[in-house]
């Protein structure tokens, strides 16, 4: 779910870089407000590498397999570090695997980053659950943030592709394309949400400190 080079018109590319620049600036400002921001950098960096590698895990959905996006999980665990982490991850993908693109880096980072930051906020809703249902609340909030992170990214991706590439698609074809692509992403959203919930519950059991900053 990365827009490659060559697809988008220049105004969208510039808009993507402007949005990503603003979001990154906002995130870095929040990070600077931490008591010791430098101490958090190695943790965020190694977790960025771990997220990048974890996204190589393929989930078999016969006859094919899907790989996870994990932007909701990134927001859930890294908070404001999610935006720099996504930017770096996409930069690596663009220059190492030529997956995504350099001109579309801003658009792709905004497409993944905005949902990640919103997923971070959704994960905070777990505090609304009573103490007796803490674990249930954690699972539900993690599922919602994981599914929402992917769902919103997919919606932005589909919207961008359908509205910017084919200049002469008729309205009914455009509606059918949007509907098909949206329906195709629903099971993937459920898988991503369930994976995020399972992972967060695993972390709470084994290393709850990783969730403390969230």
């Amino acid at each position: 779910m990365h827009v490659p080079d060559g697809f988008l018109p220049l105004p969208v590319i510039v808009g993507g870089y402007a949005t990503t620049g603003a979001l990154t600036w906002l995130s870095l400002r929040q990070i600077d407000r931490l008591p010791n921001p430098q101490a958090a950098i190695p943790r965020a960096s190694l977790l960025t590498a771990a997220f990048f590698v974890a996204s190589w895990i393929h989930i078999p959905v016969p006859p094919a397999s899907v790989h996870l996006v994990l932007n909701g999980l990134l927001g859930t665990i890294l908070g404001y570090f999610a935006m720099p982490a996504i930017l770096i991850g996409l930069f690596f993908q663009a220059i190492m695997f030529n997956h995504g693109g350099l001109s579309t880096l801003g658009v792709n980072a905004a497409m993944m980053g905005i949902p990640a930051l919103l997923a971070y906020r959704i994960f905070q809703l777990r505090r609304l659950f009573p103490k007796a249902y803490e674990r249930v609340g954690l699972g539900v909030a993690a599922f919602a943030s994981g599914a929402f992170g992917l769902g919103l990214s997919a919606a932005i991706f589909v919207g961008l592709l359908v509205t910017t590439i084919p200049t002469s698609l008729d309205a009914s074809t455009e509606r059918a394309a949007i509907l098909t692509l949206t329906i195709a992403h629903v099971p993937v959203m459920a898988i991503e949400g369930a994976f995020t919930a399972a992972l967060v519950l695993f972390l709470q059991r084994v290393r709850p400190q990783l969730l403390e900053q969230s």
Binding site: L46, A49, L87
Partner: protein, 266 residues
């Protein structure tokens, strides 16, 4: 299956005018070209895009095999995304079989996308394949990349291989214990989530040791002095030349668009 990371700067030791181009000046020049190329939609300008990018690639002395290998996977992905366009987009059929038709407009829509894709990807290879990764980040830092982003990029890059190897070992251990992950079940999903969770926990624990080691070596006390030398006149000249090419392409695109709007051309 874990993807293997191809060497990004495997050919940065070669000697060519592009390799000798000062990193900051090179990044500025190539970025301008990338944005100019992204602006182009006119079919008449597409050969110019390919000519400029492939000429610069030839000048860089990078092997063509490297270019071909780098293009193969994203090119296949691009084709899979574009293959439906001639069938869906347009109103002038070129060929038709009953209800299925290939439209002229759809075919012409593919050309600019494919040419921009190949040209921009080639420019990226020229920029990042002709200098070591550490120099690239240093140049980006000198051009205004925030310190936190620069540090995070270098550290993530440093530990990417280690983390990838960790995942390979974990998957091997799972297979040796009889794991068969070729079908979907929620139980399998939960196991894979535990694998990813273990990866995060190990990275988290390692980061604490890394931070202590970095502090012992003076991290955060003073910024490292840049090893980049000031750009020479020839570096600035090369950037100005490339900027002129970018501006010319953008101006021609603008001009051709104006002409087509007033009905003087296509």
């Amino acid at each position: 299956m874990v993807a293997r990371r191809p060497a990004l700067d495997a050919h940065c030791h070669l000697d060519s005018p592009i390799h000798r181009w000062e990193p900051r000046a090179k990044l500025v020049g190539i970025t301008l070209l990338i944005f100019a190329f992204a602006f182009v939609h006119q079919l008449a300008l597409l050969p110019a895009l390919l000519l400029v990018s492939l000429s610069l690639y030839a000048l860089s002395g990078l092997p063509w095999r490297f270019w071909r290998d780098r293009l193969r996977l994203p090119g296949t992905l691009l084709l899979s995304m574009l293959v439906l366009l001639p069938f869906l987009s347009g109103g002038t059929p070129l060929v038709s079989w009953g209800a299925i038709a290939i439209y002229r407009e759809g075919c012409f829509a593919i050309l600019p996308i494919a040419c921009r894709f190949v040209s921009i990807l080639t420019l990226g290879l020229i920029a990042f394949g002709t200098m070591p990764f550490a120099t690239l980040i240093e140049a980006m830092r000198a051009l205004g990349l925030p310190c936190i982003l620069a540090d995070m990029t270098l550290l993530s890059y440093r530990y990417l291989d280690d983390t990838g190897n960790m995942l390979i070992q974990m998957r091997q251990a799972m297979r040796l214990r009889g794991w068969q992950g070729d079908r979907f079940s929620w139980q399998h999903l939960s196991v894979l989530a535990s694998v990813a969770g273990t990866l995060l926990i190990r990275s988290f624990e390692r980061s604490e040791q890394v931070y202590r080691a970095m502090v012992l070596r003076g991290y955060g006390q003073a910024r490292a002095v840049s090893r980049l030398q000031s750009p020479q006149l020839r570096d600035i000249g090369a950037t100005v030349w490339v900027a002129c090419v970018a501006l010319t392409i953008a101006a021609l695109e603008w001009h051709l668009r104006s002409l087509s709007q007033f009905g003087f051309g296509g």
